[in-house]
Symmetry: C2
Subunit: 268 residues, 2 copies
């Protein structure tokens, strides 16, 4: 990768560089003074200031202020990218089709313009533990939820209501709908579970059904709501899940995290 760096280019030069870079789909980083207008799902205006502007090969645009994680303005991707000199301002316009969103950056001064030539990045990104993995591990080890639980379906689609994480039958033959949360469960998780249990009841009016919310913890208001709805909470032991996953992975002889990183592993 050899980024080309231009220091204090006149706006006319920047205009040409941006146009070239847009058409060749290069990644651009620009330190500049600018104001921004956004019009689309919302509408915002931002007065002049020093900003870090990033344009990616796929048309993603980010305008960053000096602080914070979030860009102040952005475009997740865009179909049209323009650079046009208008008097003493370089207008950078990004248009997204669906939803229709327009981002206009008015650049009054470019401090540094960097055009990255060929970024090579084919590495695999691995999420070592996410909700799907927790859910599948619980399904493989239902005794972690309660003894005698038999799993019937994982990620069960409930007509017109969404998806229940796990669906099974308990030791007494009662049906069980299970909602799994990776983090502290709030009121919304309770509502979600209730929705699934309600839907199940509607389709099976006679049969008894239990609803279990499985999470590392639950907020106090959510616990109250859960009780009100006659649903149950089971604490999720994340460490236990991680341990099981680790052992299962070891069994598969997959490289450990450390060896992977030290070798600078990549794939794709």
């Amino acid at each position: 990768m050899k980024p080309l760096v231009f220091t204090h280019p006149p706006l006319q030069v920047a205009e040409l560089l941006l146009r070239e870079a847009f058409s060749k789909r290069k990644l651009i980083v620009m330190f500049c003074r600018c104001s921004v207008v956004y019009e689309g799902r919302s509408a915002t205006i931002l007065g002049e200031g020093d900003r870090l502007v990033i344009v990616k090969p796929d048309g993603a645009v980010l305008v960053h202020r000096p602080r914070g994680y979030s860009p102040v303005n952005w475009q997740p991707d865009s179909q049209l990218l323009e650079a046009k000199l208008e008097g003493d301002v370089l207008l950078v316009r990004s248009l997204r089709a669906k939803p229709r969103e327009l981002l206009e950056i008015r650049v009054s001064r470019v401090d540094t313009l960097i055009v990255a030539e060929e970024m090579v990045d084919n590495a695999e990104f691995q999420e070592l533990i996410d909700e799907a993995e927790i859910r599948d591990t619980l399904a493989r080890h239902p005794e972690l939820i309660e003894p005698g639980l038999r799993i019937v379906t994982v990620e069960k689609r409930i007509e017109g209501r969404g998806y229940a994480d796990i669906y099974g039958v308990d030791s007494q033959g009662r049906h069980v709908v299970i909602e799994v949360k990776r983090v502290t469960a709030g009121r919304e998780a309770v509502e979600q579970l209730r929705r699934y249990v309600d839907a199940w009841r509607k389709e099976n009016p006679q049969a008894p059904v239990r609803g279990i919310l499985v999470a590392p913890s639950i907020t106090e208001p959510a616990a109250k709501l859960l009780e009100e709805y006659g649903l149950e909470f089971r604490k999720l032991d994340l460490k236990r899940i991680r341990k099981i996953l680790e052992e299962e992975r070891k069994g598969k002889k997959q490289p450990s995290l450390l060896s992977f990183v030290k070798k600078g592993g990549s794939a794709g």
Copy 2:
């Protein structure tokens, strides 16, 4: 703003530059080849590739791949920033205290390192329309929801159940609970409204109450659910809201969007 640019600095030089920049709280942009490990709320690994790394004065860290809006790894802010040469790898470590999260970037090659000196950005960011604004506009113009509707409360707190956006009385004296959504309403919005209506019924068992969901559109399954619950949908005309807001603002002689931008307006 005068960003300092270093091209292909040896890792030893980059180490010193980063340390200096971290301690002086400068904004840093680095094109480099690196791998990343994150450990905290989750755990992730990312193999080697060309990346764009940003470190902001407040300790925010962003690792961007060549595509997409979202950074592949990040730190919203961090309390500790380190750069340490370890053999042929420059280890950049970012630690966040609460929640405890560690981000480690292993840099094997620095292509370009930019240290921004003094970014001046005091401009005001204006959100011209958000949900609160829509809700308040509807409350000022209840006829947009239905004729004869009288507003009693805006943003009414419903004990242990969150907030109903608007609460009022219709032309026939029936109580009305209104939930406003800025975007397409899904099942969740329906459940939210139902929760508010249920809570209201519980406190007023006799009195009849209606529930109205106001949104630009509604998903088909959500519409079914709404009907099932005996609730109502009213289409929200966002353009109309914007127009009203614009006129009201004009009345207050606030500068228009265009004039604001042309003048390069700023504040703060």
